[in-house]
């Protein structure tokens, strides 16, 4: 390109001044020129009007939420699920500490599944917010109607206070465009979120499996009617124990009638 033209040079400097890319010496020089030359001043004003117009109208709306979460998910390690045999879950529920034995139970890893990603994202968000639940109550007769009113799926609210997991409240999580009910239980200073999903969002397996994603623990299982995912930042043994308690309580009719 012809860069010997002094007029063009001047215009490049004008743009550079506008972009704050001019060094001090050139800046002084240009300011002197601007004082002498009204046409140059008008040029600067035109260019700055153009720049402001682009800044004001050129930025599209923020990236769509789906893109945002897809981009975040790309960097996440894939969730790895492994089977917890019932006998072991029972042992855990009874407070038996598991160690190396669990390592032997490694289950082949599955692809990162959107349910786990959504659950963990929701849990992390709730942890950070001032309101970890949308309905705060330890009374299942308060929590259940609220959840039923806000999500199409029925919900089984199991009372686990006697097992050391008092109910703290409930919230709705959206998974794959479906609002699903989530119960929040308390374990000392931690929360355990238990989400009930339609079977279509489960992975078809009934037995309990534990997983880790982004440093959070998950346990998932299913019965004939729905799939369950528990998420928490308690350790794996504690979350397995919680899941075992929930399953036992729900299984022996501890759950509220639907």
């Amino acid at each position: 390109m012809k860069d010997t033209d002094p007029r063009q040079d001047r215009l490049l400097r004008l743009n550079a001044a506008l972009d704050d890319e001019l060094d001090a010496a050139h800046r002084v020089e240009l300011e002197r020129e601007l004082e002498r030359d009204p046409q140059l001043r008008a040029s600067l004003q035109r260019l700055s009007a153009v720049r402001d117009a682009v800044r004001r109208h050129g930025a599209p709306e923020a990236a769509p939420a789906a893109l945002r979460s897809a981009v975040a998910a790309i960097g996440r390690p894939k969730a790895i699920w492994r089977r917890i045999p019932l006998s072991l879950a029972a042992a855990v529920a009874a407070g038996v500490v598991i160690g190396a034995a669990a390592q032997a139970l490694l289950f082949p890893s599955r692809a990162a599944d959107p349910v786990a990603v959504a659950m963990v994202a929701d849990f992390a968000r709730a942890e950070l917010s001032d309101r970890p639940f949308e309905v705060a109550s330890s009374d299942r007769h308060t929590v259940k109607p609220w959840l039923v009113a806000h999500a199409p799926l029925g919900v089984e609210v199991v009372d686990l206070a006697d097992n050391g997991y008092p109910l703290a409240g409930g919230r709705i999580v959206v998974v794959d465009a479906t609002p699903v009910p989530t119960l929040v239980y308390q374990r000392r200073e931690h929360w355990i979120a238990l989400t009930e999903l339609p079977l279509s969002l489960g992975d078809g397996a009934l037995e309990a499996r534990e997983g880790t994603l982004d440093g959070f623990r998950l346990v998932r299982w299913a019965d004939r009617e729905r799939a369950y995912v528990a998420v928490s930042d308690v350790d794996a043994a504690e979350l397995s124990a919680f899941a075992a308690s929930f399953r036992a309580a729900a299984g022996v009719g501890g759950g509220e009638a639907r």
């Binding site: 390109m1 860069d3 033209d5 007029r7 063009q8 001047r10 215009l11 490049l12 004008l14 743009n15 550079a16 972009d19 890319e21 046409q39 140059l40 008008a42 040029s43 004003q45 035109r46 260019l47 700055s48 009007a49 153009v50 720049r51 402001d52 117009a53 682009v54 800044r55 004001r56 109208h57 050129g58 930025a59 599209p60 923020a62 990236a63 769509p64 789906a66 893109l67 945002r68 897809a70 981009v71 975040a72 790309i74 960097g75 996440r76 390690p77």
Partner: protein, 177 residues
């Protein structure tokens, strides 16, 4: 197989710039759905590159990937729509932009700038290389040397494109409709 270290670098570098990446991809592709595809593919490329790359200026680095992804993506999927940035036709078009300082007063531009749709159409009408420089500067807010890095062009060319882009835009906006 992607290492944990690469994933950690990815989380620090890529997600914070997704809005910038989307804005750039929107302007380079002209279509919101294409822009989403481009940004996702760029993110995958970034993750792979972070296995080895040493990144000094994360935003310019990622936007460079977005830009290159957009070019190959458009060439592959929208080849009929796109006149390639840097092609001979475009160079002629860029050269033809008059770099005169212009006679008009800023008022006409200020009035036209009230109409957001008109401004966006004017940006869309620019030659791709000029539009790209303008978007990286005024929308993504990159410094000249970062634009040079992202577009892999000398800084003098970046300056010239910006000047021409703004001159062309001023002219379009000053035109009475």
């Amino acid at each position: 197989m992607i290492s944990d270290a690469a994933r950690r670098r990815y989380q620090a570098i890529v997600p914070p710039h997704v809005d910038d990446a989307y804005a750039l991809a929107r302007w380079l592709s002209g279509d919101p759905a294409d822009a989403e595809d481009i940004v996702q593919e760029a993110a995958l490329r970034a993750l792979k590159a972070l296995e080895t790359a040493n990144v000094e200026r994360p935003r310019a680095w990622f936007l460079c990937i977005v830009r290159n992804t957009a070019l190959t993506w458009m060439a592959k999927n929208r080849s009929k729509l796109l006149s390639f940035a840097g092609g001979a036709d475009e160079l002629a078009e860029i050269e033809s932009v008059d770099l005169a300082e212009g006679e008009g007063s800023p008022e006409a531009i200020l009035i036209a700038a009230e109409d957001g749709e008109r401004v966006r159409q004017a940006i869309a009408a620019l030659a791709p290389a000029l539009r790209e420089a303008l978007v990286l500067r005024d929308i993504n807010g990159l410094a000249y040397r970062e634009i040079a890095e992202a577009t892999e062009t000398p800084i003098g060319t970046v300056m010239s494109r910006l000047a021409r882009g703004r001159a062309a835009l001023a002219k379009i906006l000053e035109d009475k409709r």
